[in-house]
Amino acid sequence: MKRAAVGETQSSVSAAEDLQTYSRREWKGNTTKSLLIRKGYEAIASEFNLCRVRGDNYCALRATLFQVLSQSKQLPAWLHDSDISKWAKEMHSDFITEWQFPFETSMSKLQHLEQCLELLKNKWQEAVQYKSLEDREHMCQHVFRGHDEEYELLEALKFLMLRTAIQLHSDMEKGSDVPEFCWLLFARDSSKCPKTFFTNHLRHVGFSGGLEQVEMCLLGYSLQEMIQVVRLYKCDTEEFITYYPNDHKNASPLCLLTEDDGHYNVLVPKKSSKFDAYGRPKWNQSSGGQPSITTCL
C-alpha cells in the first residue's frame, strides 16, 4: 500500500515557528483586541516557539498528547504498573456501546478501545526510550500525521478521562477528598454524574465540541500531569496563565497556548531562550526593546 511521505500539509502539528513573527502576521491592526493578543504573545516570545495544531475539535487533546510524547522522560507510575487494555473490559458496557469513533472499524467497540489503550501505552513507552531530540521529533512527526493511529491515541485519552471521572464521582459520593475541579465538573446541569457527563459532553469531544476548562483539569488529572495554558485573551488579568489542574505538585507542566479557550496550540521551549537546559541564565540583561525590565535570576 502506497503511503505518502510525511509532509507539512498532512501534519497535525506544525514545525516550531517564532511567536513574534506569527503574532505580527496573524494580528495586524490596532484594535483593542489585536493589541491585547500581541501583548500576550510578546510576553512569552523570548521563552517559547509555537507549533500550530490541526484546528478540529480534538485540538486540546492533540496538543496535550503531543507535549506528553515529546517531553515525557519516563513512563508515569500509573501506566507503568497497569495492563491498561484491561480497563476497557472493566468499563460499564453502556459507555462502550455509546462510544463514537472518528474512523471505520471492523472490530467490536470494546476491542477497538482495548487497541487504543494498548497503543497509547506502547507509544508512550517508545517515546521515553528516545534520548535525542531529533529521534523524538521524528517519532512525533510519524504519530501526528492525521492517520487512524493519531485518533486512536486521542480516543484513548478520552477513555482515561471517563475512567477518572467515574472514579472521582464515586469518591465524591463516599465523602472522600477529591480535587476541587470535581465539584465544578459535576455541578453542571448537563453533567451531574459520569453517565450524563459522557452522553452530553465527553462522547462528543472531537466531533461537535472541544474541551471546556474544567474538562482540561480532568485531562491533566487523568494523566497525572499539569497543563499550563497561556490564554492570550486573558492578558492583563490574573488568568493569563492558568493551570489545569492546579494542585499537582512539582510537575513540569505541559505548555499550551490559546487565544480564545477554543483552539489550542503547542508551546515548545525556545532554544535560544535566556536559560540553558540547566536553568543557568546565558546572560544577565533586561529584555531589550521592552519598556519594562525583567531580570533573570
Binding site: 512569552i44 492558568t242 513540569s252 507542566p253 535566556k274 536553568g279 525583567t294 531580570t295 535570576l297
Partner: protein, 125 residues
C-alpha cells in the same frame, strides 16, 4: 450554585522553597521577575489591576530549581524569607532573591486558579 464565567477569581497562597543551584560562583534560581514600584505596571500581562506594582514571575526555566520547587509563571511574589515584596523596587526585589550567602529562598506567592472560584462559591453555601 454554578460557575459564572468572568466572576472574579481569588488567590491561593503557596509557600515555595527554592534550593539554588550552584554554578561556580553563581547561585541560580531559574526564573525571571518583572514589576516593582519603580516599573510601569501597565506592561505586566499577568495582573488584573493595572496599578499593581508587585513582583511577578515572568518566566520559569524548565527543570530549573524554581520549577522543581513548584514556582509557576504568573505567580505574584508576596514575601522572600519573610521580607515583604509588595512595595519594593525591581532592584530591591532582585537583591532579596540573590543574596550570595543564602542557598535557599522561601517565597510566599499568590496564584490564581479556576478551582479557587469553586472553593469560594462552596464556602458561600
Amino acid at each position: 450554585m454554578s460557575f459564572i464565567p468572568g466572576h472574579p477569581v481569588t488567590a491561593v497562597v503557596q509557600r515555595i522553597e527554592i534550593h539554588k543551584l550552584r554554578d561556580g560562583d553563581n547561585l541560580i534560581l531559574g526564573f525571571s521577575i518583572g514589576g516593582g514600584i519603580d516599573q510601569d505596571p501597565g506592561q505586566n500581562p499577568f495582573s488584573e489591576d493595572k496599578t499593581d506594582k508587585g513582583i511577578y514571575v515572568t518566566r520559569v526555566s524548565k527543570g530549573g530549581p524554581a520549577e522543581v520547587a513548584g514556582l509557576r509563571m504568573g505567580d505574584k511574589i508576596m514575601q522572600v524569607n519573610g521580607w515583604d515584596m509588595t512595595m519594593v523596587t525591581h532592584d530591591q526585589a532582585r537583591k532579596k532573591l540573590t543574596k550570595k550567602n543564602e542557598d535557599v529562598v522561601r517565597l510566599l506567592v499568590t496564584r490564581k486558579s479556576l478551582e479557587t472560584v469553586v472553593r469560594q462559591s462552596m464556602m458561600q453555601h
